[in-house]
Amino acid sequence: MKLITESVQKIDGISLHTIDTDKYKTNTIVLKLKAPLDEQTLTERALLPYVLQSETKSHPTTTELRGYLDELYGATLNVDLMKKGEYHVISIRMEIANENFLKDKTPLLTKALTLLSEMVLNPILENGSFKETTIENEKRSLRQRIQAVYDDKMRYSNLRLVQEMCKNEPYALHVNGRVEDLEKVTSASLFNYYQKVIEEDQIDLYVIGKFNEKEVKETVSNQFKVKNRDPKMVKLNHQNVSKVNEVIEEQDVKQGKLNMGFRTNITYTDSDYHALQVFNGIYGGFSHSKLFINVREKESLAYYAASRVESHKGLLMVMSGIEFNNYEKAVSIIKQQMEAMKNGDFSDQEMSQTKAVIKNQLLETIDTPQGIVEVLYHNVVADKSRDLSEWLQGIDDVSKEDVVKAANKIDLDTIYFLTGMGVNK
């Protein structure tokens, strides 16, 4: 059984991915723009999609644009930024009702694609550049978005771990950019950067749902005219760990946040990627995993204790919320469980259980349009084609030996602890 039917077509500088499925009552469009993470342009890149989605030539104010989206049966339009390894990816998403489920048979998808192309390729300009008022509003919102991280202690401690751990690597940069760079951004500088994005970025357009494929292809060929390009690729170098870096920070908080970062030395393109996923599942990915059982269930130290993998950068992140004075104890349990994994101290049952849950998770992911895009986009980021059935088979084929081998490639790099004011560990 084919799990996802993806058809990919190059239309000049853009790759159009269409996924035909009748599972949804809506059609989803996701435009992805990919470029290497770069300190010089980081903040402009973080600002750009928000400026683009503010208004268009045909709908020259945000209010008019949003009113038009309401008219299109509440089509959603939103943008976000992600780090995928050392790439900085802009996503612009639209989701729009499929008129088959409406009394009104207006061709909504074509309208949405037309709007998206206008927004991205033909933005509204003032004296040859973006509108000043828009830039100022969006700079203010971006500043707020950057600051918001500090108020969510879970996100904050995760961010701090990455900053400390990847100090000299682009990966340390934050997707939303830096407040200190914002002042320097002008309408002209942003417009220059925008032109570079349209000329150089890797551009992928996904359309998911039930639609006339020929019509979509025609609309895209007519509307999304961009030149061919040779997108910039990042060569990833794994870093060696010489000694564990321990960072303790004090703040006025009630709960301590313990984050531990490991280098896995394995990424999506590697053949032992599946073994790493199984490793992570047994170690901390799920509620049957060693971290959950040992940190939470056995010792009652935490409400959450989990690990996750950064597939394109080769990192494993452990996170937990604990009482301040349980720091040593929690760190030592997390380390012990890692040692247990390296020594092959896990059962066949843990193996089969974990494989079952991972496969379940993958299959569930592709039940949502967003999930389909995320699964497929891995292949674009890593420039490697891995079909989902291959992926599932790959998980099945992982042996205990493979997991132990993957475990032994993993090195603890940094321990970050956010603790209360004046609390001595």
Binding site: K25, T26, L69, G74, A148, Q251, Y303, E323, Q353, V357
Partner: protein, 428 residues
Amino acid sequence: MEKIQLEQLQEELFHEKLPNGLEVYILPKSGFNKTYATFTTKYGSIDNQFIPLGKNELVTVPDGIAHFLEHKLFEKEDKDVFQDFSKQGAAANAFTSFTRTAYLFSSTSNVQENLETLIDFVQSPYFTEKTVEKEKGIIGQEINMYDDNPDWRLYFGVIQNMFHNHPVKIDIAGTVESISKITKDLLYESYETFYHPSNMLLFIIGPVDPEGILYFIRTNQEKKEFSEQSEIQREFDPEPEEVAEKKQVLKMNVQSSKCLVGVKAKSPSRSGEALLKHELSLNLILDVLFGKSSKVYEELYNDGLIDETFSYDYTEESGFGFVILGGDTPNPDELSARIKETLLNVNNSQINNEQLERVKKKKIGAFLRSINSPEFIANQFTRYAFNDMNLFDVVPTLEKLTLEDIQNVANESFEEKYITECHVVPKK
């Protein structure tokens, strides 16, 4: 088994009420990999005063007990239920709200085994003093986690402002102090009272055969004995109409300020169609007034008072209801003043037919979008059913709402005495 055709949505819904009172709904979704099932009891954090099953006297139980019970049901004498689910390739979870406790799993294989695990673990409580004590540590950390979360504190702060007595103002997880009073006997007493099948609803959605699944559920339930259950006697202290506090400012370790305005519902005693109409009408007005295409939104945004975190929603059930609106803002006082001004000065000329049609379209599209999600359907269908409403009546009800309907609701809902505000501001 009753079969309900949802013509416009091109779906079929199956329903049966079992002899023990359990309501079962099955919505087959071919093409999906995942089956999602929720087993929900009409028992939430607000149910803190009730007459226990087989007794005559009203009891008041410690805050947070419904949520505590939710945690404890996963643990059995010889095992942890999470393990059973994961062996069968499923992901399990649970949540407690003001009015419900739901247990759920999702899986792409072994659906019948997982369903059996779900029903059986919820229907076989096992509590000991020792495991109850152990859980206090875990839930204590959960409470601390929320204590550090400014959005949660703000949300509860504004609800606390609104209510004098209604237990909706109590934090769902309780406090470290209140959960310290929970014992295994109290857990059993609550369990026996609220986990009777006649107080519960099972919803299954996914690529399933409804006949087969229903047969399986019937057989499972026939094997079990349940005591006769009469209507559960809950008690709520009388609640004055006006808000309890006009304003509260929380100083926290944050960089940005936040502001929520709450509007307490006047006489929230509706159910069924009346509730559905009222809830939709209020949400439509909020869309007209504060939606991204509204004049007010534009002004607030351009004046730098709101950003993308700005949101609004109306919710009502079981004797409480409220509008909550707001978000991050550099100036909470100014934002709340502007929101209040908008609410208190609504006049009928502001809400015209053109606007109504537009926000209706928006809501219809949003409904189609949300029913892509099995989780949404199962969770919301249950919430609607517990309030004698039908989720699939949303679109037809929306279509029928008139300008007059929503003008009337606007005129009666927004009064000074129902409005309160809560801010989170940086310490220093």
